[in-house]
Amino acid sequence: MSLDMALMLPAIAVLGALGLAMAGMLVWASKAFYVPTDPLVDALIELMPGANCGACGYPGCADCAEHIVAGDVTPDVCTSCDAETFELIGELLGIDISAAEPTYPVILCQGGTNCKDRYDYIGADTCRAAILLAGTKKACSYGCIGLGDCVRACMFDAIEIADNGLPRIKKYNCKGCGACVTACPQQVLTIAKEHGPVYVVCASHDKGKYVKEVCEFGCIGCGICKKNCPEGAIKLDKALAVIDQEKCTQCGTCIDVCPRNAIVKL
């Protein structure tokens, strides 16, 4: 192709004009629609864990950082930061932060392989799918299904399904964000303080005879704990012992007397 000056000049002119026009428009737009960002927020986002777990109540770490800098919340809403990170954040913001007491999820079920199966389940490996099929494969309709929705919900690799068919918390990794608690369709997970109170680790409201038949550890609602509790802190709710945590003095009497080993102190 030979050089055609009659075409080249208009081509350069058109492309140049178009490019200049677009560049000018973008320069104007970047000024007109400039969104000021606080350098402090950016520095804080760098320090935050970046898991966007949502335990603080904001959609992500970036949102949380904005609210911390704005003074809406204190940094200790973050359950995922460790003490070292809190120190760095405190240094950055010029305030003193004591890390929140670490919390861990508790599994309110001792079923797993101790609880009989009603049928062989062959289907999607999620609890949410399994629960749609005639209750669950477990004979106990309240207990843990063990297909690991909590494992997939965890962003810190802090939960796994152990050999006994139940989730196990790896405390070293756990940040207590509660993502697993939200993910559990059976609601057998709850968040507890590490040196927390005494728990009834069973969720079954089935009659005692049935529980005894299908599960080795389930609460049968016998009421021995209720009779023996010196504080009167235990009630029975449809064949399930419920501990009033405000009255409980953690004396451990109920743990000793429970014939089913269904009460534990964490």
Partner: protein
């Protein structure tokens, strides 16, 4: 050059068949194989494919609106310059689309942070997506009128969207179920092949 005459602004014939053609019988993903990188990359999750579909539909329609006047009033021999600069169409279209996408990003970042978080991250990805460029180049190649080209681009965007969402629905569930065949690139193309087979055979029987 075939595009010497400027097409009319408003279409004189029914443009609905054109819309259906862009959406189904000449679907950009399944029949024309344009925009496959985003198709393979983003269909593992229905949330991301939803955001991408919205962004692509929007950008396709807006680029058709922008590039048609530039082509016929600046580049074509029928323009006021009177020179045949149509060989500049690709670079000009890329320039205009990229600048426009950048502008939209500025605007939604300023006025709608929630929309920016859900849509904004996809916008830079598609500023020069081949499907977007394909639509505007086809518009001028086929000599569509202004109204018809906008309709064609909108249909192409919707066609892209439904294939993205359909494939994401299939892939997401198969991945959850643990069917390893559908993980990765091989799985994406296998899924695409099956959806394409359905579309091709359906529209070879049902004539529109």
């Amino acid at each position: 050059m075939t595009d010497v005459l400027m097409p009319a602004l408003m279409p004189t014939e029914n443009i609905f068949p054109l819309f259906v053609e862009a959406m189904f019988t000449k679907n950009f993903l399944l029949i024309m194989f344009l925009g496959l990188c985003s198709y393979v990359g983003l269909t593992t999750n229905s949330d991301t494919s939803k955001g991408m579909s919205m962004a692509v539909t929007f950008v396709m329609t807006m680029s058709a609106i922008l590039t048609w006047p530039i082509y016929y009033y600046l580049l074509s021999p029928a323009s006021f310059l009177g020179k045949d600069l149509t060989f500049l169409k690709t670079i000009c279209f890329i320039l205009v689309i990229a600048a426009f996408v950048q502008l939209v990003e500025f605007i939604i970042r300023k006025f709608s942070p929630p929309l920016y978080r859900s849509l904004g991250i996809y916008l830079p990805l598609i500023s020069t997506n081949c499907a977007v460029l394909g639509v505007v180049l086809l518009n001028v190649q086929e000599g569509y009128t202004y109204g018809a080209s906008i309709m064609y681009a909108f249909g192409a965007g919707l066609g892209y969207s439904w294939v993205m969402l359909a494939t994401a629905a299939v892939r997401e569930k198969l991945i959850m179920r643990g069917v390893n065949l559908f993980n990765g690139f091989i799985g994406a193309f296998f899924a695409a092949m099956m959806v394409a087979l359905i579309v091709v055979s359906y529209f070879s029987v049902v004539k529109l």
